[in-house]
């Protein structure tokens, strides 16, 4: 089977990869591009561990075919920190102990960033519904929600100053 050549932008850098026509974008990112931050928890769009943002939309990359990435702009968890500076969400997750095993963490960070980009001052309920597509089996969500609240406060404060 001939492979498909895909050109796109990943985390701000131009990227190219070859993939199979039926391969998921998640597999292509992990196996062809070598970005293993996005995880496969289910492969059926039910856990959010594979969350990425493509052309501004939060998606489960396990539900996207890799060739669909042609010409798109993709961000993954690997692109969240700028250099040594962690994104406030990453910092708040660390300080708030919002991860236990950490396998869901990349998906939560990407989804939470998408949420805050859309809604910089979400209520607790908005955070809970905004992250309802991401499963965490370890934390009971309490510290995740608090970390997102803390990050939102931090980001808003920085933007205002």
């Amino acid at each position: 089977m001939s492979r498909v050549h895909v050109t796109c932008t990943i985390n701000g850098d131009p990227a190219e990869f070859l993939c199979d026509g039926g391969q998921t974008l998640l597999d292509a990112l992990r196996d062809e591009v070598g970005l293993t931050g996005a995880k496969e928890g289910c492969g059926t769009g039910d856990c959010g561990a594979c969350s990425i943002v493509m052309d501004g939309r939060l998606l489960c990359s396990c539900l996207v075919l890799a060739p669909e990435a042609e010409g798109t702009t993709i961000s993954t968890v690997e692109g969240m920190a700028s250099g040594d500076d962690l994104h406030p969400l990453q910092q708040c997750f660390l300080e708030g102990a919002a991860l236990q095993c950490g396998v869901c963490t990349p998906g939560f960070l990407v989804a939470a960033k998408a949420l805050l980009d859309r809604n910089p001052e979400p209520t607790e309920t908005e955070i809970r519904y905004g992250l309802a597509g991401n499963l965490c089996r370890c934390t009971g969500y309490d510290k995740i929600v608090r970390a997102v609240q803390a990050a939102a406060t931090q980001i808003t404060a920085t933007n205002e100053s």
Partner: protein, 753 residues
């Protein structure tokens, strides 16, 4: 919020540093098992049985072997034969079936090919001829007089008189104390209730995965995610008939386990495929495989009768518990028997527990195995009794709670425990008095779990610059590395961020048992403390040399060697000053600790749940939740809270939604997170964790395990709250909307109080 007894003041223990492995995990760099790739690696796929119970007549792999990209195909014949009576017989025939398959999803062959697609196609081309056998799918079917017997060798252990015929009962456990009839004769109120529950899955987000690379020399390296890599090594060796030295297991980061990764599934298959193909083989389960072939916790039928005096004193208890452990013998009933009456003083009791096999996946441990279900029964019945007697449910529990010196079900007197303290903490919390709205109810419940010790090893290496590396053999599933670093920092007096805690592979650290039974911070922590204390002896010796004084005149104070002799003043020496001169004082500074940890301290928890029931739909929404738990001493309070909160979420899911659903042939009908619904963020409120600290006298810092107890009280807490909201007692799990609605519409009917 923390309830504390007066305790020593620590500099590091009890603080909340950022965990050492955190940065890798928030940047996506942490390597979980499925993130590892080897050059030249093949992909392995398992061939699984579509039948719940069948004899394997033949397996024809010839077509699969001839397919493009296929490099190896294996079946049970590629492994040494095992006979019943072998110490790990069940594990061996579960990992790869021999002459029979015992459940839908049972592995019976595996294929390795250049790509996953090729391997999948080849797996589909493996031809298996089955003689389908009648499947045993429920407890009632398993116990029927004419039930098909799963295992011809299964003679009920613990039967009295001894079993003469094989059956589907693997084990009977009986405990008793006092005089049951006399006890009930004393009672003013006697109630008897029955409960049923379905199997549930641990639901860790990371599916099982491994890579195995077997060299020409017959040695193999396995990278995998497990709760215990030494167990992966020994179990894989057993299955293959190899010596342990031929297998090195390198632990990847583990994406959740909760007991489900205390056993093995893929690793021996990957090794055998890799040996046959001469290439590394990677295997990753799909979520569907995880549901069908791993993990479930037992389903049960429980019947309990309790007798109580008018003044609220429990006087008699009779329990008949049946647990299914899936297709093989398991400890569900035994553990149910050990927990059902353990939290309360019940002078007259009898417990009989059956462990039963059925044609579903082999059960694995799940957080405080068996205890959430006995708690469901007991704690909802206690609630009924308290209401009937007009006593506050917490006061009623305090009145009957075990305290230090009271005998356990097994007879021994409890050491210092914190049950009453947990009850008081919830009673005094604002949640317990918060006003409830319409259709809302409040439930409280308690839970108990033993915790275990077992073997652990640790090595402490001081680096040239005075920093330290702490290597242990315990996979870190919830932040235990941070706890190890905190205890080492406290002992050595080195800043916690100058300590690097590492999980060592099977060739880098001494033998360490599986991370289970809430033992990592307790037992492996003890090994770390032992290693550090040896290191301090060594450091004092080196400092004495450097100062030219007797070692007895050196104390270790706050990370420094301090001279206490009378020969004038000498400047104290820091760790960095001592390590800088290590070459001149005797060489590298390294110390080990390894032990079998005694004195695991029981953990108690008490939860209060407020929820709202939609009377139109039966949907239950938890609106407020507070959980107290005795941690002994919280080494890293954030991760203790996290364990409690995570246990609550799992317990709430178990209470309200989660269950395995099988069709009439034993095929699982809901093997996805869409149809097997675990709680999401919008299903839960904040969970207020109250850490109670009643130190465990057997641990240098007073630690009790905290990983498991938190899942024990939620089911009955939710059930009691549903009663509060609706007046309905629901005694079958899950308490799904349809069941709640049924109960409401037939209120006063069979589910009524």
């Amino acid at each position: 919020m923390t309830v504390t007894e007066p305790k020593p003041s620590y500099k590091y223990v009890g603080t909340r540093p950022v965990r050492h492995d955190g940065l890798e995990k928030v940047t996506g760099r942490a390597r979980f098992a499925a993130d590892l790739n080897m050059s030249g690696q093949l992909h392995g796929i398992v061939v699984r049985s579509p039948h719940a119970h069948a004899r394997i007549v033949s397996i024809d792999t010839s077509e699969a072997e001839a397919m493009p990209g296929v490099k190896a195909v294996i079946t049970g014949d590629d492994f040494p034969a095992v006979e019943p009576g072998h110490r790990q017989y069940d594990m061996c025939i579960n990992v790869i079936a021999r002459d029979k398959v015992f459940y839908e999803g049972h592995a019976l062959a595996a294929v390795a090919a250049s790509t996953r697609d090729q391997a999948q196609a080849a797996a589909a081309a493996v031809k298996v001829e089955y003689e389908v056998l009648p499947a045993v799918l429920t407890i009632d079917q398993a116990l029927a007089a004419d039930a098909p017997v799963l295992h011809a060798h299964m003679m009920t252990a613990g039967a009295n008189p001894p079993a003469e015929e094989p059956s589907n009962i693997s084990n009977i456990t009986r405990f008793s104390g006092g005089e049951l009839d006399a006890g009930f004769a004393e009672a003013d109120l006697v109630i008897e209730r029955e409960f049923t529950t379905q199997p549930v899955h641990q639901g860790y987000i990371e599916p099982h995965a491994c890579v195995a690379d077997t060299g020409q020399d017959g040695h193999t390296t396995i990278w995998c995610s497990s709760q215990g890599h030494f167990n992966v090594r020994s179990s894989t060796a057993t299955l293959l008939g190899w010596e342990n030295t031929r297998i090195r297991v390198i632990p990847a980061e583990i994406g959740g386990g909760f007991g489900g990764k205390t056993t093995i599934y893929l690793e021996p298959l990957a090794v055998a495929l890799s040996a046959k193909a001469g290439r590394p083989v990677k295997m990753v389960m799909t979520r569907d495989e995880v549901f069908r072939a791993t993990g479930p916790a037992p389903g049960t039928k429980l019947r309990i009768k309790l007798g109580v005096k008018r003044d609220g004193t429990l006087v008699a208890g009779d329990a008949y518990l049946i647990y299914t452990n899936g297709a093989y013998a398991g400890p569900g009933g035994l553990l149910g028997a050990m927990t059902v009456f353990e939290s309360y003083k019940i002078p007259n009791f009898e417990i009989e527990a059956l462990d039963v096999v059925i044609n579903t996946a082999r059960s694995a441990a799940y957080r405080a195995p068996a205890a959430p279900l006995t708690a469901y029964a007991m704690e909802t019945m206690l609630d009924e009794i308290a209401e009937e007697l007009g006593i506050d449910p917490i006061d009623f529990r305090i009145q009957n709670a075990v305290t230090e010196g009271d005998p356990s079900t097994m007879g021994f007197p409890f050491a210092r425990i914190g049950f009453v303290e947990c009850l008081e903490a919830v009673r005094d919390h604002p949640n317990y008095k918060a006003p409830l709205g319409p259709n809302q109810g409040r439930g409280i419940a308690a839970g108990y779990w033993f915790n275990i010790g077992e073997s652990s090893s640790a090595t402490v290496n001081l680096n040239e610059d005075g920093t330290a590396t702490v290597v242990t053999g315990s996979p870190d599933i919830g932040g235990s590395r941070a706890s190890m670093a905190l205890m080492a920092a406290e002992e050595l007096g080195i800043d916690v961020y100058d300590i690097r805690p590492v999980v060592g592979d099977t060739e880098a650290v001494g033998f360490t048992d599986v991370t289970e039974g809430s033992r990592a911070t307790f037992a492996t922590g003890m090994a770390v403390v032992e290693a550090c204390r040896r290191m301090v002896v060594e450091l004092r010796g080196r400092a004495a040399k450097m100062m030219g004084v007797e070692v007895d005149d050196i104390d270790w104070v706050d990370g420094q060697a301090v001279y206490t002799g009378s020969d004038g003043d000498k400047a104290p020496l820091s760790v960095a000053e001592i390590t800088a001169k290590a070459k001149r004082t005797g060489g590298p500074l390294t110390a080990t600790g390894s032990l079998e940890a005694h004195g695991a301290g029981p953990g108690f928890a008490v939860h209060v749940c407020d929820l709202e029931v939609d009377p139109e739909t039966g949907v239950v929404r938890v609106v407020r939740y507070t959980a107290s738990q005795d941690a002994g001493t919280a080494i890293h309070p954030s991760y203790v809270e996290g364990q409690i909160q995570g246990g609550v979420a799992q317990g709430v899911g178990w209470a309200l939604n989660e269950e395995y659903i099988y069709d009439s042939d034993g095929v699982m009908e809901n093997p996805s997170f869409l149809d097997y619904r675990v709680p999401v963020a919008s299903d839960l409120p904040m969970i207020d964790a109250i850490i109670v600290e009643v130190p465990n006298p057997a641990h240098p810092y007073g630690v009790r395990g905290v990983g498991e107890t938190g899942i024990v009280p939620p089911i009955p807490a939710v059930a009691n709250a549903i009663y509060g909201a609706t007046g309905c007692r629901i005694r079958d799990l899950p308490m799904s909307p349809i069941r709640v609605l049924d109960a409401i519409t037939s209120n006063g009917g069979s589910n009524g109080a």
